[in-house]
Symmetry: C2
Subunit: 200 residues, 2 copies
DNA sequence: AAATAAACCAAACAAATGTTTGTTTGATAA
DNA sequence: TTATCAAACAAACATTTGTTTGGTTTATTT
């Protein structure tokens, strides 16, 4: 059980070449199932089957079903954060920046695959431990929008948190009514921002 | 299996006086559990236990778990519809009416018990049959807001569906961040409407 | 008081659940 | 070649799931 005596020369770069090569596949399958059926209604056999293996084999890649959800969450947050930050790059003007962020957020949420949807919809009321793990990551993401709203030229009487909550709520809720082929995410985001700016 | 021969005199008002007296209790328990844990993660034994009976005994009141969810949905829609219609009663002015409806919607959703939350959050992606049953009722409710938005004095260039989707999205999403003791539902609704009106 | 029927219990049912175990496979490294 | 090790299988594990069955209590009606 004790650690082996370290060699004088480095154990030179473990070099486990194709290690865990099917992990992305499993994660994809999990994200798809979690999105379509929800976490509780999805079984390990469902996911394993989609990835072409048996349920037990998954435990070589993930120690539990909860860990799968956590991994999907983290990947989802990673993707949506990256998309928003890239969309903000080089954009100037506070309203333009907010609109760019909103459009990117929507694009990932509506046309960007299953991960982001799971992040948004599957707030884990299941386990308190899970919530403690995931809440900070979500909060960090929402801080991006907090800053963007802070930079808006609003009258001092306008409560900024209303602006943020209203916009993010409208954006996040869109996955319940959006159907592919309808209005494009960018158009929806532009429309929402226009309403917020009071242009009507 | 054939229906009994109808008597010449009415089978005079079945008069089952206190029949199904514990149905409300069961429904309450189900709504609470569905809200807190979600439909799939809630077991029949959970609900039965909360109502002080065994799981099997529930089948004298509801033929299946799905029927329980349907019943909770219907009761939730009934309550929220009633609250909004009562709030609209006597209110004049298109913006005032929209704000009154939004405030009532929020009040039921945030402080009005478990039924409405289940209606809003637990869109049944589980069963297609379930969805067909519940979707029309939800649509009928949203029509109230559709009409209210149609009555607003907006420039012809303003897409009305953006207004409706943005407001309802913001309202419905509020249950994810609202904590009792914070800003009152009426204040939140007023703030959102003010933003929509462009007063800032 | 007798009869009827609703409400409930106690126990079981088959199926599905997340997870564990022991073993086999196939590629890589010594 | 031989040893190693990740990856997967096959099978079982103990629980939990929604639901059914048959009998017993309880309340209402005749």
């Amino acid at each position: 059980m004790t650690a082996p005596v370290p060699a004088t020369t480095e154990p030179p770069a473990p070099r486990r070449s194709r290690r865990d090569s099917r992990r992305p596949q499993l994660l994809d399958a999990a994200a798809r199932r979690f999105r379509r059926g929800g976490y509780s209604a999805t079984s390990m056999r469902d996911i394993a089957g989609d990835a072409g293996m048996l349920a037990g084999s998954m435990y070589h890649h993930f120690p539990s079903k909860e860990d799968l959800l956590v991994a999907v969450h983290e990947e989802g947050i990673r993707r949506i954060t990256k998309a928003v930050e890239e969309a903000l790059d080089g954009v100037r003007g506070p309203w333009q920046r907010l609109e760019a962020a909103a459009a990117a957020h929507l694009a990932v949420l509506l046309d960007g695959g299953d991960y982001a949807v799971v992040v948004i919809r599957e707030l884990p009321h299941e386990s308190a431990a899970l919530r403690r793990t995931l809440a900070p990551v979500r909060d960090a993401y929402e801080d991006i929008f907090r800053r963007l709203v802070d930079d808006l030229p609003l009258s001092a009487a306008t409560p900024r948190h209303h602006v943020r909550l209203m916009l993010l709520g409208a954006l996040n809720w869109s996955q319940t009514w959006y159907r592919p082929g309808g209005e494009a995410p960018e158009a929806i985001a532009r429309g929402f921002i226009r309403l917020l700016r009071g242009e009507h």
